[in-house]
């Protein structure tokens, strides 16, 4: 029994149907729990209440990057092993990733207003996220523009590959272009910079919640894509006779 076999649509439908309820329950519990717990944390002595934004901002930002990586992996699986469900999973993940990016951008922008005194600064990290959002948009637009699913899967796969390289390249170019305002990773293990436990645990929970939420949405959306493809396949069969 290898992981590849789940790429068979029938098997995937069966397995995903079985685990989906559990994932949904977990996602709801962890996301709501993490976000509400975060909302109830005490005020920070420096940032005041704005620190509560971190429980949305950081998980969303992490998922935004992770989802793109996941799309890159599934695209590669499709391009190399030709597993159809893998291609559909990449397609299904993209809108979720775009929304996560949007949440990171929006919460960051709202946070920036009190912290930096402006809604938007061309800070390297913010800018790289904007660029990531552009890549998501292009990827989604390409999927929806091509009618033939086989070509669409191949072409978006190639785009995802090339796009990943350029997303990385842009990140370095942007760093060269402007110095940052945004703080570094405060979950780092370096003792002095470590966030206090009051904020750390709700943050972990909320991160887990966002991860599960993504998994649940990914399963649902992949199932949708499979059904759509099956519908198209049946119709094509009817026409060809």
């Amino acid at each position: 029994m290898s992981i590849w076999e789940y790429a068979n649509p029938v098997k995937f439908m069966r397995l995903s149907g079985a685990i989906l309820p559990w994932v949904v329950v977990g996602a709801v519990l962890c996301t709501v729990g993490g976000v509400v717990w975060g909302f109830l944390t005490p005020l920070d002595y420096k940032q005041g209440a704005t620190v509560k934004i971190v429980f949305l901002h950081v998980p969303a930002a992490m998922m935004a990057i992770n989802i793109w990586v996941m799309m890159l992996v599934t695209s590669l699986i499709w391009l190399i092993r030709r597993h159809h469900v893998s291609a559909l999973a990449a397609k299904a993940a993209a809108p979720v990733g775009a929304v996560m990016t949007l949440i990171a951008l929006a919460t960051g922008a709202i946070w920036g207003q009190p912290m930096w005194g402006s809604w938007w600064e061309w800070d390297p990290r913010l800018t790289s996220f904007l660029i990531l959002f552009l890549f998501y948009v292009g990827y989604i637009a390409l999927w929806s523009a091509i009618e033939d699913p086989d070509s669409a899967a191949d072409l978006t796969g190639v785009l995802c590959l090339v796009g990943s390289v350029f997303a990385l390249l842009s990140r370095y170019a942007v760093l060269f272009w402007n110095q940052g305002l945004h703080q570094g990773a405060s979950l780092s293990v370096a003792p002095g910079e470590r966030m206090s436990a009051v904020y750390r645990y709700p943050l972990y929970l909320s991160m887990l919640g966002f991860l599960l939420l993504f998994l649940a949405l990914l399963l649902i959306r992949t199932r949708t894509e499979i059904r759509r493809r099956r519908l198209a396949a049946l119709q094509a069969r009817e026409i060809r006779g």
């Binding site: 509560k52 759509r228 519908l231 049946l234």
Partner: protein, 49 residues
């Protein structure tokens, strides 16, 4: 009690926007799934029956 201090608007806006966006993608996913399931049911009924 929940304290938000002078940044209440900021925090509420951040939570509001995020919840809205999340609700949007969840609704979109679920609705599209239901539609796809219905369409497929109808088609399968026609092909087999």
């Amino acid at each position: 009690m929940i304290e938000l201090g002078k940044y209440a608007g900021t925090v509420l806006a951040a939570y509001g926007v995020s919840v809205l966006l999340l609700a949007g993608i969840v609704w979109h996913s679920v609705a599209a799934n239901a539609r796809a399931r219905n369409d497929l049911h109808r088609q399968e009924g026609r092909t087999n029956g």
